[in-house]
Amino acid sequence: MEEIVLHVNGGEHRIDADPSTPLLFVLRNHLGLTGAKLGCGLEQCGACAVLVDGRSTLTCSAPVGDFAGREIVTAEGLAVDAVGAAVQNAFIDAGAAQCGYCTPGLVIAATALLTRNASPSAADVRDALSPHLCRCGSHARVLAAVAGLSTGAAE
């Protein structure tokens, strides 16, 4: 056990944890942020994605010790971010979720994409979402919701 300082959703948290613990377990069990989901533990499905210094990052395997001092934003923290909030609203408007288990990870990936590129092409959107799996079949709605936020999208 050691003390690790994490910056999550704008707050600073001192956490006592084994630094080899995957970040996901710390977010969920120490901080109560369960938006990021455990889907596989193998970095194959994307359900555990959060923003780390603005990039969509999988958290189910990477040790918490690697994240000390870095800026972490989970799905719960996106509402105060203009891009994040727009993505969340676009998902709601498109009805782009069924069970919703993969949704926070997709919202994170879309926010990261649109933050670094305000006018992604359809291919950019597909590439950004390709680390993510969805089983209910909301893919088409998710793609449309994200593409619709591209400043390059047809009005």
């Binding site: 377990f25 009805g95 288990y101």
Partner: protein, 717 residues
Amino acid sequence: MNANPSLRKSPNLDDWIALEADGRIRVLSGKVDIGQRISTAVALIAAEELEVDPARIAMQPPDTDTAPDEGMTTGSNSIQQSGDAIRRAAATARRHLLGLAAARFGTDARTLEIVDGLVRDPATNRSATYVELTGGAPFAIPVDANATVKAPGDCRLIGGPAQPRGIADMVSGHAKYVQDLVLPGMRHARVVRPPHHLARLGGLDSETVARLEAAAIRIVRDGSFIAVAGDDEYAVVRAADRLARSATWKTGIEFEERDVFDQLVDNPRISLPVVDGMPLEAPVSRPPAPAEGAALSRRARYERPYQMHASIGPSAAMARDDDGHLMVWSHSQGIFPLRDSIAESLDLDPSRITVIHHPGPGCYGHNGADDAAYEAALVARALPGRPVLLKWTRDDEHAWEPYASAMAVDVAADLDASGRVIRWTAESHSDTHRGRPRPDAGGAGPARLLANRFRADAIPPLTPTPNMNHHGGLHRNLDPYYDFPAPHLVKHLVRGLPLRTSAMRCLGAVANIFALECFMDELAEAADIDRLEFRFNHLKDDRARAVLRAAADAIGWRRAGRPDDLGQGLAFARYKNDMTFAAVAVELRVDDQARVRLDRAAIAADSGQVIDRDGLRAQLEGGFLQAASWALYEQVRYDRDGVTSRDWETYPILGFDNVPEIDVIILDRPAAESLGAGEAAGGPTVAAIGNAIADATGLRLRRMPFDPDAIMAAARR
């Protein structure tokens, strides 16, 4: 006798609807929301009949102490059972409340108006809210199954826009799934699994056990069922890994490795004739001889491998033993049968168990949810007083969920000189699709819970018996909806197959419609008739013709010739021959690496009166994409050491890289009964893709999945 089984079981208005003091209306449904938005649809129905804003409707999460027992949430039945029951309950309540208001105001009920739950007498301007009228007392009247429900033309909400319930919490990460639950004093738990279901525990390494126990890890052992529990989740994960590595297993008889498609047609089986969608307790007659005057005869075998539900979130459950009363939080689709099956397994009275439904990741049928619930219950009983949150791992979910059975479907037909089908035979071979835990003869409930196979007092798996229901299990949609002369249909329930199977979305309809609808294309080609025309030639039903026409128009159906490398295919089915009509058309290409790329899809559906329009579209789109994944990517693999499809690399599914433009066309029939739609698109999708591949490449693929290996193998033949 009421035709709706939900109302037969729960005949009282108070079983379904309760008025809250704050003006909200609590609606109780026994059907669970698994992402199919049944709660959104049911709330719309209740709000419509009760004349209130849908925001006033509070859907009560079902539990076995308070919810109406509506059995399983399966078979696309929820709108026709729960939706119908709540519609009639709400109509009964409205009439009753109007009666109370009329008495209070001394007027005729017919003169009263209702605005968002406020009943008003326009003559005197007197008004009262619903709960003021009842004084908060229960209704204490039965649901009148004949209560007048709103005419389609009077509906304000049904069929209109509706935001899916809970979606705001889903996108913000605040939606809580079973996996996210926290209770005071909770322990986390994981199960240590054998290599396969025939293996039994040799032993655990005593030093490892001692080390783990010294680190406050609790080890629960009951025969070959082993679980670990502790306060810190990641410590439990590591403890389970250590214990698994230290365990020795007696693998006994090796896991059977014979080709399942040989086993399906060679193994012992129970064979029954199927007539009008019903199996008969009768000997199977010989297949009819080729028809007199046959100009053309064809036969073919279509095959589906074992496939899995492959939920994105591994199953989980919370359980707590409170002085002998067992509380279980589960994402099961059947909380009542689960409660009774756990009770029977533990020799408890069902009144001493409460199962509370809590949302989980999408399951699409009988996945690991029920097994996880029972395992959590076992651990909670061994460690009473504190709650236990037991989670399956990705490996558990892939390797231990009950799969959709592999199937082989033999079809044969004769055409006359004009291209009309004059003989049709279809024989479907499969293991059971009915493995959900529910009490039945021979201790079926306990025998269908996975952990019971491994407990010291082990219960072997149940030998399945044929499902005799209309379009049940393996004979679902075996009976063609086309106007053929009486078809010769046989269901073969095959014994001795290697993997555990149960219900997955669409059940036998996937393989049966795959066979039927691809074979229709084969026959059309043989007769040199356009594939759409060939279907119309055998289809008098206007609603069926309309969905086919709509899908074909939307895709831009080409009657002849293929100007480019784009293949087109279409397929039709009416789910169970009495639910939603669906036609699917696709346009695709096969790239130079033999990968199928989906370009466009059109889904046309007629579900009668539409309740939640966007929810219906979402079910059709989702059904299409899941079935496209089955068609192109999915196959459970195993060898003599057990299942080898244990993660997303060894069991790939459709990703964001192969999603077509999807056009959904809803054919409105507001005056017709609402029909279940959740499984309508699956079978036609698989067949339409198979047909489009044949159109694009000339290769007829009769075994799923249509992956590059299959396409290259077909090209070499």
